[in-house]
Subunit: 587 residues, 2 copies
């Protein structure tokens, strides 16, 4: 470790000096020619990965003076492997305290990630900065906590305007709301459901998180050590209700935004909202979409569909299947919900056939967990703080994701060879994605086409769930489906596990002009399925400024949202207090 500190220290001193002298050539000389600098709002007020010296030069030429980075220090040296020295650094800019993750090879920087951690003078009111609560000084006319809060809640959106409105009170909206509350940004979360948890409660019974509890912590309130490793949907629902209460968030439930107009002159939104039948206008400066991005059930049109005499529905509408003993079910789709629902139907006594058109990325849960092992606080031995694990996870440039995952994927292929052979024998098609990166390279871009196995693959292998693969359903008859290979399967129940279309909520609220202006949402432009090019390097329009002032999108799995909710909240706070800033690369 001492060697790492020495190597890193030496590089950092040179880097610091070069930055200090605004000597960009010297900075570039400290990077590999193809080195990466991923910046998360520390230099660019944007998320931007500069790939190679030319891009880094362009970024620094634009941002270095205004950023004025200083006070670089090694916060933690990390394990060295394959000649790569890694360390976590801290530094400051004119306005912020920041973190960095550095990877050095042969004395030069291979990857650098810089990220804003907190705004000076606008720190979160947590820990040693927490509010006092009970007064240490009484004042006449003071209200106690509850009357103060009740009044504030009654006024917010009515006689006072929130600075920020978040649409969606699920885990995305709540996590961002909690961050903004700690930064004293007046925020109102609105959602059409009656409780923050209802979106989860209404889903199919077998649904549970497919990521382990220690990866899923929300900001400020980690799941307790009593929490199950993979929580069921209703436990998550209970948690979200409790989270909203404990974080004391301002939420309008039963409220729907039905239209918007951005007032350029005033720099604020006019949102048309109905709340329990009554119309309101909200006028926030900032508007965040924090609903699920894949929000519109997508059901294919199939010939004869309307003549089917059994039950048929999209998996989004599957609630309970208590009594389907002997029922012949056809599940169209072989992604996560296709697997979950097939197992749920089988458990309820149905005969199930899964229709799989194209290969699915399948990885066994126990095999994939080592891929997020840095987050595992249940493991014996010293733990990495979750905050540090988040930094490390974010430090890998998107371009290198598949490369970083490759050895891991290769190890899984070898370890689970028998499992994959069994899947193959059962007629199931699997692959590891277009780039061979498996789930980690795919899952964050497109939540379809993969399954982290928590048991359904075993049912497929054992033949308890039948699979017809490489085919699609061409037609539906009264009591059967006709496959593209000409086969016919009897059917009493058809479940469309055929995924979701993206961002229907956006078009319910925003004008077409704005939707066109901001362009594609999500994906890094890898060119693979569901992620059209050109290469963007960063998730498009998520957690970072869009081309529409005052418009933000917040989305991702629990772990991503924990980390990026802070970066988004800081960007909003910086606007709230009108810090001078120029966004780099918002072309």
């Amino acid at each position: 470790m001492n060697l790492t500190v020495r190597v890193v220290d030496e590089w950092m001193a040179a880097f610091d000096a070069a930055l200090d002298h605004r000597d960009i050539d010297q900075v570039l000389d400290l990077f590999e020619p193809e080195g990466f600098w991923r910046d998360l709002a520390a230099f660019t007020w944007n998320f931007h990965t500069a790939e190679g010296r030319v891009a880094i030069r362009a970024m620094l030429a634009d941002c270095l003076d205004a950023t004025a980075p200083n006070s670089w220090a090694v916060s933690q040296a990390l394990e060295t492997s394959n000649g790569v020295y890694q360390a976590v650094l801290t530094f400051e800019t004119k306005v912020a305290r920041c973190s960095a993750v550095l990877r050095l090879r042969d004395g030069r920087c291979w990857t650098l990630m810089t990220a804003m951690s907190e705004l000076k003078g606008f720190e979160e009111t947590v820990g040693a900065r927490r509010p006092n609560g009970a007064p240490l000084r009484y004042e006449q006319g003071r209200r106690n906590w509850k009357s103060g809060r009740d009044r504030e809640k009654a006024q917010l959106g009515i006689s006072t305007q929130p600075y920020c409105v978040i649409i969606g009170a699920g885990q995305a909206g709540l996590s961002l709301g909690a961050r903004l509350k700690q930064l004293n940004v007046p925020t109102l979360i609105i959602d059409k459901v009656d409780r923050p948890s209802d979106t989860w409660r209404q889903r199919y019974a077998a649904l549970s998180l497919h990521s382990p509890v220690w990866y899923d912590h929300m900001p400020y309130l980690p799941f307790p050590e009593t929490w199950p490793r993979f929580a069921s949907k209703d436990q998550i629902a209970d948690w979200l209700d409790a989270y909203a209460t404990i974080m004391d968030l301002g939420i309008w439930t039963g409220a729907q935004c039905i239209g918007s107009h951005y007032d350029e002159a005033a720099g604020e939104w006019r949102l048309s909202v109905t709340r329990e039948g009554r119309p309101f206008e909200l006028r926030p400066k900032q508007l965040v979409f924090a609903g699920g991005f894949w929000d519109a059930p997508s059901t294919p049109q199939i010939k004869g569909q309307d003549r089917f005499q059994g039950r048929q529905f999209h998996v989004a509408n599957l609630k309970d299947v208590d009594s389907c003993n002997g029922l012949r079910s056809i599940v169209i789709g072989a992604g996560t919900s296709g697997h979950d629902v097939s197992a749920q139907l089988w458990e309820a006594g149905s005969e199930v056939t899964m229709i799989q058109r194209s290969p699915t990325i399948v990885m066994r849960m126990d095999s994939i967990l080592p891929g997020v092992e840095i987050f595992n606080t249940d493991a014996p031995g010293p733990k990495l703080p979750t905050e540090l694990a988040d930094l490390l996870a974010a430090s890998i440039p998107n371009r290198l994701m598949a490369q970083f995952q490759a050895p891991f994927v290769a190890a899984i292929k070898a370890k689970d060879e028998a499992f994959y052979e069994d899947l193959h024998k059962a007629g199931f098609l699997y692959d590891f994605g277009d780039d061979g990166g498996g789930f980690f390279a795919r899952g964050t871009q497109d939540p379809s086409g993969f399954y982290l196995d928590v048991g359904t693959s075993e049912l497929i292998i054992d033949g308890r769930i039948a699979v017809r693969s490489g085919v699609s359903v061409d037609a539906i008859r009264e009591r059967s489906v006709i496959l593209s290979d000409g086969g016919e399967l009897p059917a009493d129940l058809i479940v469309y596990a055929t995924g979701y279309r993206k961002l229907a909520a956006l078009s319910n609220v925003l004008s077409d002009d704005i939707i066109c202006k901001i362009g594609p949402v999500g994906g890094v432009g890898s060119g693979i399925r569901g992620d059209q090019g050109p290469w963007a390097g960063e998730n498009r329009n998520i957690w970072k400024p869009t081309k529409q002032p005052g418009l933000w999108l917040h989305n991702g799995n629990f772990g991503l949202m924990r980390f990026f909710s802070r970066l988004l909240a800081l960007q909003i706070k910086a606007r709230h207090v009108e810090l001078p800033m120029r966004v780099y690369g918002l072309s």
Copy 2:
């Protein structure tokens, strides 16, 4: 630190050998003649402090063979001060893993505290032992988490009997319920309120915790870093509701136990419970009272009381005092609620006079916090885990409490000299308790007669709240009160902040025979006010076996309950799985 380890190691090796050879003389020789051994259910299946060699001999003669302690190890050496070497140890018994805190002076043990940590084979299902949640193996007929839970809750107390019933769903009942849940002890909590939080919501508006957040953590779910230092009553109420949900406890609200019978032959209780008007019989083996012990508002009989023409009520019934501009209020009592209520009335515009019959222990909040500094996770620098701080706090024998506190109290007297002088000038009577130990020696025995100042003292000092001290109210007239010194004060409102009587709830449920059999509850028998002798050394009948089989009492502030809830839960679990045990010292 190395010296400490060496000194402790040497002593521990000798101690271990002596115990191993069952050589009690040799063990005694390792203690100071007046040394203390406090055992919390590790050796005695009781809480017992053996004071001096004779008492230690008696304890070991009875318990050593059955306990068979072994595997002693130093877990953490602590700071040495004044020649006292301190360390935390671990060891095992036949059935349990245990912790110990040791203090050595001149090579001999001054104080030893031994405490059970977990039962072998019955470990809590937390962390690496947490339940999996999502199945890794599907089974036909399996229920998802919610249907399983719903069914279990619907059956508990109806078609299945809980092993343990806890009366009281406040912080005491919930913390114990959470512990028992992790030990898989079927438990039902009952409370007459509609929500676990209602007991808190119904209290006076100015109420907040007078202990800092980092001392107040409940089991498994620490308060988040966003939580205020001293939470208001409604925040605590919100928290308790969320806690009950997150810990997924079985609770009957709107349920009252109106009588009981202990069936000696069956070794179980017959509890008569009404729940929402319907009668039920519950038959648990174990019954825990976890309500507030000081549960019956105590209002003095005063001549003329019934002729008073203003409003008068006990502070327990004070809800809001929104509109008392110019109202002349008399607050009878100068403890915590007397201070809180006086400030609340003053804030609401009332003229307030506090009637103080006898001196109050007053300590400024900021001055007293260093006394629980070992719990302070907000402080800069390395933190002691809360679990370790709990052990250290419990390691001080009750007999030595005032002695341990003396330097701290002396420092406060010196530091806050001007404050106390100002209080004196304002006519307020203060002292540091009969034993001079101040709050820490008193507060845990008797929750009256003290005030941890969060601001009311300043109002008294400034004369904004008037005090009449050394007097009581002799009589009440239509619009005034008559003091024992003959003075008369005009009055529109009288608040009785005159405390509570103990354990009314017990007598509503238990027979007089059982109440007599168990004897005094709480207090260590110090002989000071509210804690009649003889000396018991441990809190009587709390967290430990009573003379009534299957009857337990659980109470204390948040910090005490965090620690002792585990010890109580372990004792109940040991009975649940019928471990062989003999309780020592249950005379």
